[in-house]
């Protein structure tokens, strides 16, 4: 059933990575949601963060009110761990789509069937979109479930808004990795450059309020759009979402064009 076309075959290829990322992120979020009341009784997180000052900003904990579960999740998970996990997942898999088929040598057979290069890129891309959505839906269920167990209020719509931004951030970086690997056939370069870019953008965003001069280039960082308007408090900012979606679409288009033009590795 999963061997119908390139999309379903890719879904099949990604089934275990998707399972583990979903379970890992979901379990982590559920764990924090369940234990949140205990944490907040033991530590006064807000005053701890205040004492840390700028260091807290480097850790991405500049925003969010640690006295509520949603603010706590923002500080603990949404500022750093979840975006890193989703970006790593999207970029790691997308970089292996065409470059993986090339290095394994399977691209020759695949393209000798009536499947265009464009279709190969788009169908594989669709599979990573589906996998990312599955991961955040599982995460949402675990978070809501954990919050129900610990009887902590957690607005499902605000959590959903943050997860939409999380998926878009993952796809923006994932599509950059896809474009690099489609243009070069080099998976390692695609992963390396994408991760380096992610770290640089993260630092620009996290430090822009502390370091003079970084504020000017902050709009170049995807992280500015991801949590800049705090969707966990304010809900979905359509403008920010559109920026990340446009970046993702641009690099997807570049990936298609680059892959269509290239001589493929033997």
């Amino acid at each position: 059933m999963l061997l119908r076309n390139v999309f379903t075959k890719t879904v099949r290829d990604l089934r275990w990575p998707t399972f583990w990322v979903s379970l890992g992120c979901g379990a982590m979020t559920g764990y924090f949601a369940i234990l949140f009341p205990t944490y907040s009784k033991l530590f006064d997180l807000n005053s701890m963060l205040e004492k840390m000052g700028p260091a807290a900003k480097l850790l991405g904990a500049s925003m969010g009110d640690a006295s509520t579960l949603i603010g706590f999740l923002h500080i603990e998970l949404f500022s750093m761990i979840l975006p890193a996990a989703l970006v790593a997942f999207a970029a790691g898999t997308a970089s292996g789509f065409t470059a993986g088929e090339e290095s394994r040598g399977t691209i020759d057979i695949l393209l000798s069937y009536p499947v265009s290069r464009r279709r190969v890129v788009l169908e594989k891309w669709l599979a990573v979109v589906l996998a990312s959505v599955v991961a955040v839906v599982v995460l949402w269920v675990f978070a809501i479930g954990g919050a129900a167990i610990s009887a902590s209020p957690l607005p499902p719509d605000l959590l959903g808004a943050a997860l939409v931004m999380l998926v878009l951030l993952g796809l923006a970086f994932g599509d950059i990795a896809l474009a690099i690997s489609a243009a070069t056939g080099n998976r390692g370069a695609a992963i390396g450059l994408t991760v380096a870019l992610m770290v640089a953008m993260y630092l620009v965003d996290a430090l822009s309020s502390v370091v003079d001069g970084l504020g000017a280039i902050r709009p170049l960082s995807f992280f500015r759009y991801y949590m800049g308007d705090d969707p966990l408090r304010n809900g979905l900012n359509m403008g920010d979402a559109a920026v990340l979606a446009a970046v993702a679409a641009l690099f997807l288009a570049l990936a298609v064009v680059a892959f269509e033009r290239r001589d493929l590795a033997a």
Partner: protein, 311 residues
């Protein structure tokens, strides 16, 4: 009738040595065509160009009358391909892979596919990663033949096949031909394909040197002979025989190369006491060198070959 493959001035440059140069080739439909050349001559480059996996530096090409780039999907519905370095999705079983490829193609006669699996004695339930090279090759061959394509492009298809499968493979090719389909086989070994092909094209260093029938090629083939005589013989007796070249006689042993028929030499030798005759099959490379070749690369290879035989 539309040619199965036609190229005009097809060129692919990769810096200095690889690639193909200005190839004009017509492969008529309904033939088994052998595309012969030593390793690195440009055979795979040619096939990958025809499949639009790489793009020509210049020139044009048509497959089944269709432009290789613009009409790509229309071509892909009507051809199949087995790469030389066959790589398949190793995590799948043979059957799963054939299902996937069949779905990508759209029209596969399952009964015919299963009959191919049976004929090639393929175990379709084993994961491809556990298969030997020859068994992997079987999967590739079933995949190629199961869609009954109008043109089969097989890059070194016989490498790693055991004799039984080799025979079955040849039957499949002949069946395809009698069904009016075309088979394009690349190989670096003439003996593997000579009894199968109607015509062969010979490529060396990226240049198409000749397109000939097998009969013509054989007439020009080289045989290297060594004859041990019971006593000393005079080299002059043999030196003027038709086709004999590179003659040397030492201690009652004659060594020479014969172009075409060895009849005259054998009849001349029969007048003496003959202890033994050794015939050393000539490689394609030697045929190339003898008839088309010169240049530094050929000389180097010739020296290597001679050294190898002497050892």
């Amino acid at each position: 009738m539309t040619a199965a493959i036609e190229t005009r001035g097809l060129t692919k440059s990769y810096g200095r040595s690889r690639g193909i140069v200005d190839v004009d080739l017509v492969v008529e439909a309904g033939q088994i065509f052998g595309f012969l050349g030593p390793n690195g001559a440009g055979k795979s480059t040619m096939i990958r160009l025809l499949l639009d996996l790489i793009r020509p530096s210049s020139g044009e090409a048509w497959v089944l009358g269709l432009d290789i780039h613009r009409d790509r999907l229309a071509i892909d519905r009507r051809i199949s391909y087995v790469p030389g370095e066959l790589s398949l999705y190793s995590e799948l079983t043979g059957r799963q892979l054939l299902t996937y490829l069949g779905n990508l193609h759209g029209h596969v006669d399952a009964a015919y596919r299963d009959s191919l699996i049976e004929r090639l004695e393929l175990d379709p339930f084993k994961r491809i990663k556990t298969l030997s090279r020859g068994n992997k090759q079987k999967v590739g061959l079933v995949a190629a033949f199961m869609i009954r394509p109008e043109l089969l492009m097989l890059d070194e298809p016989t490498a790693g096949l055991d004799p039984f499968v080799q025979l079955e493979f040849e039957r499949l090719c002949e069946e395809a031909r009698s069904g009016g389909r075309t088979v394009f086989i690349s190989s670096h070994q003439l003996p593997e394909v000579e009894h199968l092909c109607d015509r062969v094209g010979i490529i060396r260093e990226g240049k198409l040197l000749a397109v000939e029938t097998i009969a013509d090629l054989k007439a020009r083939a080289l045989h290297r002979l060594e004859i041990d005589f019971g006593g000393p013989v005079d080299a002059a007796t043999f030196s003027n025989l038709p086709g004999v070249r590179d003659l040397a006689v030492t201690d009652g042993t004659l060594r020479c190369t014969v172009m075409g028929s060895v009849d005259a030499l054998i009849k001349a030798a029969a007048r003496f006491e003959v202890h033994n005759i050794r015939s050393i099959d000539t490689s394609l490379e030697e045929i190339f060198m003898a008839y088309y070749g010169s240049g530094e690369a050929a000389d180097k290879t010739a020296a290597g070959e001679a050294g190898h035989v002497a050892a």
